[in-house]
Symmetry: C2
Subunit: 314 residues, 2 copies
């Protein structure tokens, strides 16, 4: 990574199922973007280096001294190189100090952002990889130093920040549970909607959210079948009903675990239909959230690159 303060930055969000990247100017503006399906699970027989060269040789030819930083599962044991978990609480400085580098001689050097780990008081450990960069990006983009961040997804994350440090986070299996129940359980058999996972809202979704407040998930999930069998919910709405039960349950659990009350601001990081469902479910729990686009990742990588540069120059 160049020590000149005036270099461009290539910021890469390289996850399990997709890759997004931005070429950023020295002042943090996004100049160009790449989106690709080359998530680490789809690499197949191509090396990560080959994918990297395919996607980024062009930018590097134009900006050979650009700093390159990657966050997400590419830095996991199943990725290119493992950037070991940093223990919570952790701030920008801790993450920047723990970057792991891979040299590609005569091309560039790539910094991989570590994930975070935590062990809760009840002995439950947790890990996060990728979302920490989104959260730091949100802090940088908004100029804030605290809040609770909700990052919906296959494994949803709730992250608490105080004094610009991640102090706590919890993972919820929500998205994956929706997917396996829909595809592989008897609950999916009566569903006739063809939308992708979790992208329907409306009344059935709301009903699921409201029921979730009782904390009876294993019982209420069976009602996806019984409501369908007895004609109480239309086949096209069963998926939305199940989604409401699951997202509502996540919010019920997270609210009890992580939310200090109305004085603590909630930020919802994500885009499109899934973010819309979470906003609807949060409202059903009387929580108002500030919406943030998930491109805050790039702001996080930019801030980390700058912090790292300051560290090596100090």
């Amino acid at each position: 990574m160049s020590s000149a303060s005036g270099t461009e930055i290539i910021a890469i969000d390289w996850g399990t199922s997709s890759l997004r990247a931005a070429l950023m100017s020295p002042d943090g503006a996004v100049l160009e973007r790449i989106a690709s399906p080359d998530g680490i699970m789809f690499a197949k027989d191509r090396s990560f280096e080959a994918i990297f060269r395919d996607l980024f040789s062009g930018w590097l030819a134009r900006y050979p001294r650009a700093s390159v930083l990657a966050s997400g599962m590419i830095g996991s044991r199943q990725g290119w190189i493992e950037a070991p978990y940093v223990a919570c609480p952790a701030g920008f400085d801790d993450l920047a100090r723990a970057l792991i580098f891979v040299d590609l001689p005569e091309l560039t050097r790539i910094g991989f952002v570590p994930g975070l780990s935590i062990e809760h008081a009840d002995g439950v450990p947790d890990v996060i990889r990728g979302e920490e960069t989104q959260v730091f990006g949100a802090l940088a983009a908004l100029g804030i130093t605290e809040g609770v961040f909700v990052l919906p997804g296959t494994h949803s994350k709730w992250v608490t920040v105080k004094d610009s440090r991640i102090t706590c986070f919890r993972t919820f299996l929500t998205g994956e549970m929706f997917d396996v129940l829909r595809r592989h359980s008897i609950l999916g058999r009566l569903m006739t909607d063809t939308e992708p996972a979790g992208e329907r809202g409306g009344e059935a979704f709301d009903l699921g959210c409201k029921l979730s407040a009782g904390g009876r998930l294993l019982h209420h999930l069976f009602s996806v079948r019984s409501r369908g069998l007895l004609g109480k919910t239309a086949p096209a709405d069963l998926s939305a009903y199940m989604s409401g039960l699951l997202i509502g349950e996540e919010i019920r659990e997270a609210k009890a675990l992580m939310w200090a009350g109305a004085e603590s601001q909630i930020y919802l990081v994500g885009r499109g239909d899934l973010a819309g469902l979470y906003r609807q479910a949060l409202a059903s729990y009387d929580i108002e959230a500030t919406a943030l686009d998930d491109s805050v990742t790039f702001a996080g990588l930019f801030a980390l690159a700058r912090t790292h540069r300051a560290q090596i120059e100090a």
Copy 2:
């Protein structure tokens, strides 16, 4: 069905994945048993009548006037003939009056036991088919008129009985959720034990049960992965840990919904390892259960046949 009080009874528990039957003497003793894999989902291109003739022509040749009664999914829309749900509360009389019959000319007549339906105050409907006969069998076998019955399985049932009538029941998706998460989610990937679903107990199972008391299922399920990744639970014990989280959650929910406290007796209907796990999980919630073998089904069918006979003779 013969009106003579002295006939034998062929009692058939014909479920989704298997069939068990008993030839019973006029006083209710089990003379012979059949167990077969001919559950309704394995019928394939054979008709239910063909399967029935294969299995029971022998007994009927010896006892042509035997009463024949079948409970379980064979009486559902996906079975031989639908015996419509009877609304709760319901007693022996209601079930016996709602039997649906199929005639096999010159062979016999088969009575199918209806399932039960209920709609709870929160608008959640529920259905049961097969377990109602087990519960009535338990009442008959023990000579009791009330209690809470726990019937573990793919879709676990908790059933409340007062004055010999089923007043309430709730279904929990426990067994199926264990199965789909183990086979199809990321949680199963680190598991190395080869035992079938839910048949391991021990410390990891206990830890799962204890955590379940917090009511944080979506969060704690992710810890099946994080504990595995971080070496906190051995790969061979992850399945037991997940089973503890799920069975524990069922008991937490059911206890709040259906258990009036220590004065209400809990009966655990089932056999083998799964019943053992439930006993261990119930103990973790300070609930002592009386164990009953699931062959009480035959006692239930016997009692229903006798009630039906009394009804047509009255």
